[in-house]
Symmetry: C2
Subunit: 444 residues, 2 copies
C-alpha cells in the first residue's frame, strides 16, 4: 500500500493517491508520514481531506507536527484546528515552542482562541488539561424521542455520544445516561426517570492518576469533569486514560531505575537530555556508595587477617540488594494499584518477616553446602558468611517493604525508594552485619 | 451509607436495606461485601436484585466468589450465571477449584454449559479467553431504521452496543459500524454504505498483549475476534483491556525485580507462595555472584599489596549496576510500548555510546575531585579508579541496551534481562576492568 501511494505521488496522480489514502486508517497514515522525507510528507498531508488531515495530525509525533505547522498557510492551520477535538489541540500545543503556539492562536477565531487559552491554563496532568468539551448535553425534562433528535442534530462534532450528560439551566450536572439506555427505552419515557443521578465525576484540578484509578475501579468509558460549583466543563474519554496509565507506568519504571521521569520517546530524545535525566541519581548513589567503601576501610584489619572474607563481599551485597528490591517492587506496585494502603504496614511487615525467613534460610543453607563442602573453606568463616547472609536477607526485605510505605505516608512517591537507593542502604548494612559477625565468630 | 445499611440489616429491615443498596454503584457494594463478616455478606448478597447481584459478583475477590458459590443454592447459582456476561463467567471459573467449576456447570442449562466449556478451552491470556459473545450483529442490507429496531429488540443483554458488527449469512465479518454513525445517519440509508469494511480484528488464539497494543494504537473501544475462517465469534471490550495493561505492566515490574510473575494480590498471597516466586532467581543470582568472588580471589595479591583498592569495589560495582539498569529499563519499556523495535539496535547502541560517554566522564571527574583532592589518595590509585569507572559506565550502558534487544530477537521476554541479572554481569566485568587497569597503571 505504501509503495503504491508513493508511486502515485511520484507520477503526479494525486487524485488516485488521495482515494487510496482515504481507505486507510488515520493511525496508519500517520505511521506512513513518519517514514517519509519531508517534501513527500507535506504533499501527502495536503491532499488529505481536512477531517482526515486533522485526525492524522493528532497521531503524528511532536517533531512532525511542528514541521507541518511551520510549513503550511494560516488558512490550512485554521482548518486543522477547527477539525481537531479540543483535547488533541491542547495536547499538541502543550508540547510546541512558543512561536508555534502563537502562530496557531493567531490563525484561529476569537472563540476557539479564548477556549484554548483557558484550557492551557489548567495545570499539566490535571483533569482540566486532558478533558474535551465535545460532549452531548440533555435536559431532564426531555423525552427519549426528543433526546435522540437533539443528539442527531448536534452529535456530529462530539468526541463521544456513548454517554449523554443531563444539565440544568445553570449547566450543573444532574445526571448521566448511556446512549444505550436511550435507544433501548420507550420513546415517551422522560430522561429524568432513567438517568443515573449519582455519576462518578472529577474536578478540573484533580490529578490524572486519580482519574485513571476511577476509570479502572468503575470500568468507565467516559467521565464528567466539573468545576467547584459542580457545573459540567468537559469530559475525559477512555482513550486518553489508556495513555495516562502507560505514562504513569513508564514514570514508575524510570523512577525505579533511578532516572528522572520523562514521557519523551527514547529514540526521539537527544543524548544530552537522556544523560541529564540519568546523571543526578548516578552521582547521588555514587557518593553514597563511598560510605560503603568507608566501612570496608574501617574494617581493613579484619580483611587483612582473613583474606578470603573479601571475596564474599559481592555475593552478600548483591543478594541483599536483590532480596530487598523484590520486596520494594511488590510493595510499590501494590501501592500504585491501590491493593495496599499505608494502613496495611503491619500486615506487610509480618508477611515479609515470614517470607524473608524462608528465603534467608534456603539461601544460607545452599551457601553452607557450597562454601563448606564444595569449596572446603574453614567452618567458622563459612558460618560467618551464612549467618550474615540470613540476616542480610531478613533486613533487606523488611527495609524494602517499610521504605515505600513510609514514603507514601510522607507524600513522597514510593517509586523513588526502589532498588538503586535500597541497594545502597542494604550494601552498607550488610557489610556492617558481616564485619560484626566476623568479629564475634572469628574472634578477630 | 455502610453503617446505615448494616443497622437496617441488624434490625431485620431488609426491604429498606435493599432500597439503599440499589442506589449504590455495584463496585461500591462489592467493596462493602469485602469488609463484612461472612454471615452478613451472605444476607446482603441474597437481598440484592439478581441483575445487581450478578454485577456485584463479577467485582468481588476470588475468595469471596468461592465462598458465595459454596453457600448458595443451585437455583441461585443459575440466576447469577444467567445474568453474568460470558467473559466475567469465564474469568471467575478460571480461578475456581474444580469442585466449584463442576457445581456451577451442573447448575446451568445445556446451552450455557456447552458455551462455557468451549470458552474454557481457549488458552489463558488468548483473545478467546477474554472475549464476550454479547454483541449486536446486523446484516449489510438493513436500512438504518431496521438496524436500530433490531438493536432495540435484541440489545438488552449485550455488553456493549457502541459498535455493531455486520455479518453475512455464514457469520463472516463484513464490516463494523459505530452506533453513533447509525444514530446520526438518515433512516433510509443502507448499512452497507456507511459501514467500515476494513476493521481491526484479532484471531481467537492471538495473545492478549497483541490485543492491548492494537487497542492503544487505534484508540479502540471494542474489537471483533474471529476464527480462522474470519467468522465472528466474540468481541473484546476496553474495560478488559485496561485490566490487561495493568497485568502486563505488573508482570514486567516483577520480572525486572527478579521474581516469577504472578497476578495474585500481595496481601492475599501466602508467605510460602511469595517465597516460592522469589527464591529461584535469588539462588541463581547468588550462585553467579560467586564468580565475582572468584575474580576477587584471583587478584588477591593486588588487593593485598594496595589495600585501599578494596574500598572502591562497592562504588564501582554499584555505579556500574545503576548505569546499566537505567539503560536496560528504558530499552525494555520502549520495546514493551513498541517505541523501539529490534531493527533499531544500531541506533540504540549509538545513542547509548554517546550518553554513557557523557555520564562516564562526569562521574569520573567528580570521583577524581573527591578521591585525589578531598581524600588525598595517591594519584595513580585515583587514576585507576576513575579510568575504571569511566569504562565500567560505558560498558554497563552498552550491555544494558544490547541484552534486552537480543532477548527480544531470541523471542525471550526482555524484562528478564533487567537490573538484577545485568548487575551480576556488570559486577564481574567491572572488577576485571579494575584489576586490569590496576596491573597496568600501578605496575603490580
Amino acid at each position: 500500500m505504501k509503495e503504491l501511494i508513493l508511486n502515485l505521488i511520484d507520477s503526479g496522480n494525486y487524485s488516485e493517491a488521495r482515494k487510496k489514502l482515504i481507505e486507510m486508517n488515520e493511525v496508519d497514515i500517520a505511521q506512513l508520514l513518519e517514514e517519509l522525507d519531508k517534501q513527500k510528507l507535506l504533499i501527502i498531508f495536503r491532499i488529505l481531506p481536512k477531517e482526515i488531515a486533522a485526525g492524522v495530525f493528532s497521531y503524528i509525533s511532536n517533531q512532525l507536527q511542528e514541521y507541518i505547522i511551520a510549513s503550511i498557510t494560516d488558512r490550512e492551520i485554521k482548518n486543522i484546528i477547527d477539525e481537531l477535538f479540543l483535547d488533541d489541540t491542547i495536547d499538541f500545543l502543550e508540547e510546541m515552542p512558543s512561536n508555534i503556539v502563537k502562530r496557531v492562536l493567531q490563525a484561529t477565531d476569537d472563540e476557539t482562541r479564548k477556549l484554548i487559552n483557558q484550557f492551557l491554563k489548567y495545570p499539566e496532568d490535571s483533569a482540566g488539561s486532558i478533558m474535551t468539551i465535545e460532549y452531548v448535553d440533555l435536559k431532564k425534562e426531555m423525552t427519549v424521542k426528543q433526546a435522540l433528535e437533539h443528539i442527531k442534530e448536534t452529535g456530529v462534532d462530539k468526541e463521544t455520544i456513548d454517554t449523554c450528560y443531563v444539565l440544568n439551566e445553570n449547566r450543573i450536572l444532574e445526571g448521566v445516561i448511556p446512549i444505550r439506555k436511550l435507544i433501548l427505552s420507550d420513546e415517551t419515557t422522560v430522561v429524568k426517570d432513567i438517568m443515573d443521578t449519582d455519576p462518578v465525576y472529577v474536578n478540573t484540578h484533580d490529578d490524572q492518576e486519580k482519574i485513571a484509578s476511577l476509570f479502572k475501579k468503575y470500568d468507565l468509558i467516559s467521565m464528567p469533569v466539573v468545576d467547584n460549583e459542580r457545573r459540567l466543563v468537559g469530559i475525559v474519554t477512555i482513550d486518553d486514560v489508556v495513555d495516562i496509565i502507560d505514562q504513569e507506568n513508564t514514570e514508575d519504571f524510570q523512577k525505579m531505575a533511578a532516572m528522572h521521569p520523562s514521557d519523551e520517546e527514547y529514540l526521539k530524545t537527544s543524548p544530552w537530555v537522556l544523560a541529564k535525566h540519568r546523571i543526578t541519581w548516578l552521582v547521588i548513589l555514587m557518593i553514597s556508595a563511598a560510605f560503603t567503601g568507608n566501612i570496608i576501610n574501617k574494617y581493613n584489619n579484619i580483611l587483612q587477617s582473613i583474606v578470603i572474607l573479601t571475596s564474599f563481599i559481592p555475593m552478600l551485597m548483591d543478594t541483599g540488594g536483590n532480596a530487598g528490591s523484590q520486596s520494594s517492587t511488590l510493595i510499590i506496585r501494590g501501592l500504585a494499584l491501590g491493593e495496599i494502603t499505608t494502613r496495611d504496614i503491619f500486615r506487610v511487615i509480618l508477611k515479609e518477616v515470614q517470607v524473608s525467613f524462608i528465603c534467608g534460610f534456603v539461601l544460607a543453607a545452599l551457601n553452607f553446602i557450597r562454601i563448606y563442602f564444595l569449596e572446603k573453606i574453614n567452618l567458622l568463616v563459612t558460618l560467618t558468611v551464612c549467618v550474615t547472609l540470613f540476616f542480610t536477607v531478613m533486613l533487606a526485605k523488611i527495609i524494602g517493604c517499610v521504605l515505600p510505605i513510609l514514603a507514601k505516608m510522607l507524600k513522597v512517591d514510593p517509586a523513588i525508594m526502589a532498588s538503586p537507593l535500597l541497594t545502597t542502604i542494604v550494601d552498607a548494612t550488610s557489610l556492617m552485619i558481616y564485619f560484626t559477625f566476623a568479629t564475634w565468630i572469628l574472634h578477630i
